[in-house]
Symmetry: C2
Subunit: 347 residues, 2 copies
């Protein structure tokens, strides 16, 4: 199949997005890392984390809530499992890129290592990060708070964030096993879409401002979302506040919302990424862990279930072969952002 005339190759889209961020005042490390993660979303047909996110990132810059010229700094290394990068008030993504090779080396040496990112603005999915760790032959777990929009089970008010949890397992001859999901039952954007479509919400999604269950999207947006899986999801979300907020010396979702004062900008907090070396963990035991994992995956697929992220990987293959096709309004939006920079976004 030949590429559509309207399709942009992945590198061409990357160059365009990077130019937009440079025009918006981001320095090279910020613009580069943001472009890579946004184009990865668009490439994987993960539209909610694709070029749609450019405007929100620029709005956060314009509001003065993120340092567009931040240069992340690797903090002094004490030889422990903890590698620490201070994002210096910039986005999380360049901080992750700076820390990744150190994280991988340390995990290979010690079996486990942790990358702590502090003082960052966060707006992207976590799957690009667990995939990047898995590319080093390591398993990865990534977690972070968000801003308070979710009530704990049995509670009434926003306290927890949508607090995503992502995991990656490396595969030798396939894309990694990867999942990445919010610990809220739905994303805030899904409730907004239901509101625009005039639909009611499924039961169990949200509470109204008085803390009562509601199926009205408008009331839900003024109230609180709920966690997935009832009290179990609520417990996992609380664990994420503890480990990836409080333990790493960074903001909880409630503190982040108070600092930001809005749910329309990207929140500031930290992030925790754990890397595990299956080779170190399996050493001296029977069987190759990567081959055994394939047997598990075959058993899942063999009974008709799916592995997570397969739709993304299929879209990725198409994008890499045929390029990425944008709608005319998306193309017009990129043109405007590239021409006008921060003037193109309203606060």
């Amino acid at each position: 199949m030949t590429a559509s005339l309207d399709a942009l190759s992945v590198p061409a889209l990357l160059a365009r997005v990077e130019a937009i961020f440079r025009k918006g005042g981001l320095n090279a490390v910020q613009a580069g890392a943001l472009s890579r993660v946004i184009v990865a979303g668009e490439r994987d047909a993960c539209k909610s984390h694709g070029i749609y996110r450019i405007e929100g990132a620029l709005r956060t810059v314009k509001a003065g809530k993120v340092q567009a010229d931040a240069v992340p700094e690797l903090m002094p290394d004490d030889g422990s499992t903890i590698l620490r990068v201070n994002a210096k008030g910039g986005f999380a993504n360049p901080a992750f890129e700076l820390g990744l090779p150190h994280l991988a080396e340390r995990a290979r040496r010690l079996g486990i290592a942790a990358l702590v990112i502090n003082d960052c603005t966060h707006f992207s999915a976590l799957w690009p990060e667990v995939e990047a760790v898995a590319a080093h032959g390591l398993a990865a777990l990534a977690l972070c708070p968000s801003y308070a929009t979710v009530a704990p089970t049995g509670g009434k008010e926003p306290l927890l964030g949508t607090n995503p949890l992502a995991f990656g397992w490396p595969r030798r001859d396939a894309e990694p096993y990867v999942f990445d999901f919010a610990t809220s039952v739905a994303a805030r954007g899904e409730i907004e879409l239901k509101r625009r479509a005039g639909e009611t919400l499924p039961e169990g999604w949200a509470l109204d401002a008085a803390g009562q269950p509601t199926r009205d999207p408008e009331a839900a947006l003024a109230g609180a979302m709920l966690t997935f899986g009832g009290h179990k999801g609520s417990a996992i979300s609380t664990m994420i506040e503890l480990l990836a907020g409080i333990m790493i010396g960074d903001l909880t979702s409630l503190e982040s919302l108070r600092q930001l004062g809005s749910t329309n900008l990207s929140p500031s907090h930290g992030e925790l990424i754990l890397a595990f070396s299956p080779e170190r963990f399996a050493a001296g035991r029977e069987g190759d862990p990567f081959a055994r994992a394939e047997t598990l995956f075959e058993a899942i697929v063999g009974q008709g279930a799916r592995l997570p992220s397969q739709r993304r990987f299929a879209a990725r293959a198409v994008s890499e072969r045929d390029g990425i096709t944008l709608s005319s309004s998306e193309r017009a939006q990129l043109d405007r952002l590239e021409a006008e920079g921060l003037d193109a976004v309203a606060l």
Copy 2:
């Protein structure tokens, strides 16, 4: 309040249970560790992990599926984050007790450490273990497979186990923040209770042997359970197979079921316990992580939600003050087990 005449003190019940296990042929390390974890369950009014479990443990001994005289062995230490105890075919509990001080020391030194237990028979809850790690001032995450009784989302057949996940966070002036739950939507025992009571199951609990959704407990027991939280719980359960089965060089839930050939005995597999030092992780950052966690817990409780495990802790306080009251049939059962040992249990 004075103790009931029929109440046993916690140490007195511990001595009785230990005597039963010794009579059943367990050596001192196996009998001691098993008694401690079973009496902890009974003390916390967690009946499903209390003295009710004695008979199942003895049945597994009688079936020759666990080494009653095993002495767990700390494997050679390579100075990494990975501490490894081989349970030598015995129960997981004495292996955990052997590894715990090493795990705590290593986590304090390196920020994170992992205790891998291999070649163990597992039958107890995970909360005693995360509580024991938290007593060292460390956060803990414990996970293990089980035997295959749960289908992955979109699948038809048992492949995953009930795969529990437990977490603990140490608190200075209170019992730790602890959760411990199966990643299946319900425990197998709950389905069995519904069957005995002639009740139907809630939707979403189980599939029948043909892989179709069922609300009939009998059909569910012949089929497969489902995970909590739909595809998200299924992904977490799969992660547990990968990290706490395959990565540590031990059995998956499917392999464990095949080896055991029964769901009426305790399964053999491994276990993974991670310990984190909040002091190391928060070093150099503003705020004390333990004090900040209290603020989070107050916000949860302040809006009417509960912290997990509070019912257990309340029962514990009562048991420690008033002793543990057993029913007459429970007392008779203890008498019989103590008198007859393995002859009292049927395979």
